[in-house]
Amino acid sequence: MPGTRLGGTDEPVRDGAPAPATSAILDLMPDAVVALDADARIVLCNRSATTVFGISPEQALGVQMSELVPALGVGGIARLMADAIVVGGGRIRIGRVQTDGLRRGGTGFPLEASIAESHAIDGARWTCVVRDLTEQRQADATLSLFQQAVDGSSSGIVITSARLPGQPITYVNRAFTAITGYAPHEVVGRGCGFLQRDDRAQPGIDALRAAIREARDCTVTLRNYRRDGTLFWNELRIAPVRDPDGEVRHYIGVQTDVTERVQAAREIELRNARFDAVLSLSPDGFVLFDADDRLVFVNPALCAMTGATQHDLLGLAREEFEALLRSLARPDSLAATDAPHAPPTARTPHETRRMTLVRPRHCVLDCTERTHAGARGETVLCFRDVTRESEIDRMKSEFLTTAAHELRTPLASVFGYAELLISREVDPPKRQRMLQTIHSQAKLLSTMIDDLLDLAKIEARRERELKVYPVPVGLLVDGAIEALAALEGPRPIEVEVASREIEVAVDPDRSRQAITHVLSNACRFSAPNSPIRMLVRAGTDPDAGHVIVTVVDRGIGMTPEQRARAFERFYRADPSGHSPGTGLGLSITKEIVEMQGGRIALRSAPGLGTEVDLLFPRAEPTMRLPDAP
């Protein structure tokens, strides 16, 4: 800027060009420097002034400063000087203002002007240093936007200093306060550790320390505590902020309260654990196929049913699994349903099919299928072991058929003889025989019905109905012999009881009934004059906990085949009708004895006789009679 004149700030401005060196320095300054005379006209400006105001030095000279900066007319400057600070021993006043300037062409722009006032002989002189604030304002606006964004974020944001010891917090946003309950003034200057209180043993903290040591990003989930002491799960992401030299100056931490998410995850985990427990304890077998019909889950019960390991089964295709089932099943047991061969879409969602597996062990399974369980197209197969149920069903129907058949036979006599007596004249002796047969067969029918009802009661296993208490075994024996006399007529029984006072823990009525059944058999299957003995003794190891009642006869005995079937219902060793039994006695006896925790054993040989052991549990010494009978 040759030819321009310069006004210094700390020395009085004189007319005349500034020294060339000073002029060169002024021209290097980024700010516009303008010297004004007493009328606030420009008398000198530097090179930057031309760029700030868009005007050449030649055009600037003599121009009123207020044309470039409206606030800087003579009056404006005077008002500014009223608040100015005074330096240079009172000779110089310095004022400062932020206002708008006008570029040539009338475009406004923000500026900051510093004005130094000095006094010459002919009045005041002013030197203005004008800085264009356009860029700074933009930067400020951007910064403010960032500030607002950070403040308004729903995630908590923490900035810590990396340089100060303890890495204190230098900033927290509003969300931090909302999440933690701590106001900024309570936390700025403190390290972040207070958020964990005493709960320091967390894997996340170690991970965080390692990340800080290595000056890298990291994300951890921590148990943190609010100002009021309540726990919250904090998912914290930290990132180092480096200066241009690469040195870490700050860390920025972004925290998100994930308590609900963590709790939901825990809840799901807990539910899964419960389901796992239920499924692994379940006696029902479960398999789960994913949408691609791959086996993705199998429980232990199903492994036991199929004899396969989880390892064998996982990953099998549906068809492979069905093929495995077919290989284990009795072929005809799958014939009822052709579902395994049908494509999955053809299967009805809740179809139940029954199959009988012969390997690894015999079992009957009901398989229920639920397709598209949930929205993911999965298929669940549930296998219920109904072996026992189906066996019981079969036995029940067989039992009923047999029972009906057994009742028909005595009924045939009652019905037939009665009809003959009605339709014919029969001489008195014959008539008497016929009536006797009707009577005895009707009595047999009645006994059979009683036995059947007994059996049904015992079958129902209503053990509550058992009235078990300590009874001296002598009483049981006496009662049984008494009942036998009523049933079979007088018959001497040799009784040998080691101690009548030994107590057994049984239901006395039922146990007496059991002994009577055995005695009654002994009478029926031996000659009227052949001896029947009953021995009672305490069991020795391994039957030390029992009292053994043994009934010995010298009757016809049983063949091995008869012995094997002795406990079968309706099985009669002698079907001729000479020994009019129901075929239920021994099976009832067995049920009674076993239900009370005892046992029955049978030894027999044809022509030699039969011995039956009934084992009854001994009463514990502590057992006492119930208060009420």
Partner: protein, 130 residues
């Protein structure tokens, strides 16, 4: 008309009942209390009619005796009436399969037994009465 009739029944009271039922009809009655004896008597006696209990202990049950009778050409004229407490369709089918001529279920009416026996004795050969 007097006919030779064999009664094969293990229960004595039923055997006596059948015997009493048929004795007024003037038939020639023979008795057996098991299948094995029954079969031997059938071969020796060649009866006109056999009343056979189905469920009997021993070497042969009623169905087996019936099958043997029906398989033996020398016994072509012998009628078989099965007598059983088992009256379900499966049991009747088993009886038909064994070739019986008639099937009576216990308890039976003595009068019905007489009718059945008469019908069998008077039916032309080859015609079966159910």
């Amino acid at each position: 008309m007097s006919a030779k009739i064999l009664i094969v029944e293990d229960r004595p009271e039923i055997r006596t009942l059948i015997e009493m039922t048929l004795e007024f009809e003037g038939h020639d009655l023979h008795l057996a209390d098991n299948g094995g004896d029954g079969w031997r008597i059938v071969q020796a006696l060649r009866p006109d009619l056999v009343l056979l209990d189905v469920m009997m202990p021993g070497e042969l049950d009623g169905l087996q005796v019936c099958e043997r009778i029906k398989r033996d050409p020398a016994l072509g004229r012998t009628r078989v009436v099965l007598l059983t407490a088992r009256g379900q369709q499966a049991d009747r089918d088993a009886g038909s399969a064994a070739g019986c001529d008639a099937y009576l279920v216990k308890p039976f009416s003595p009068l019905e037994l007489i009718d059945t026996v008469d019908a069998q004795l008077h039916a032309p050969d080859g015609a079966r009465v159910r």
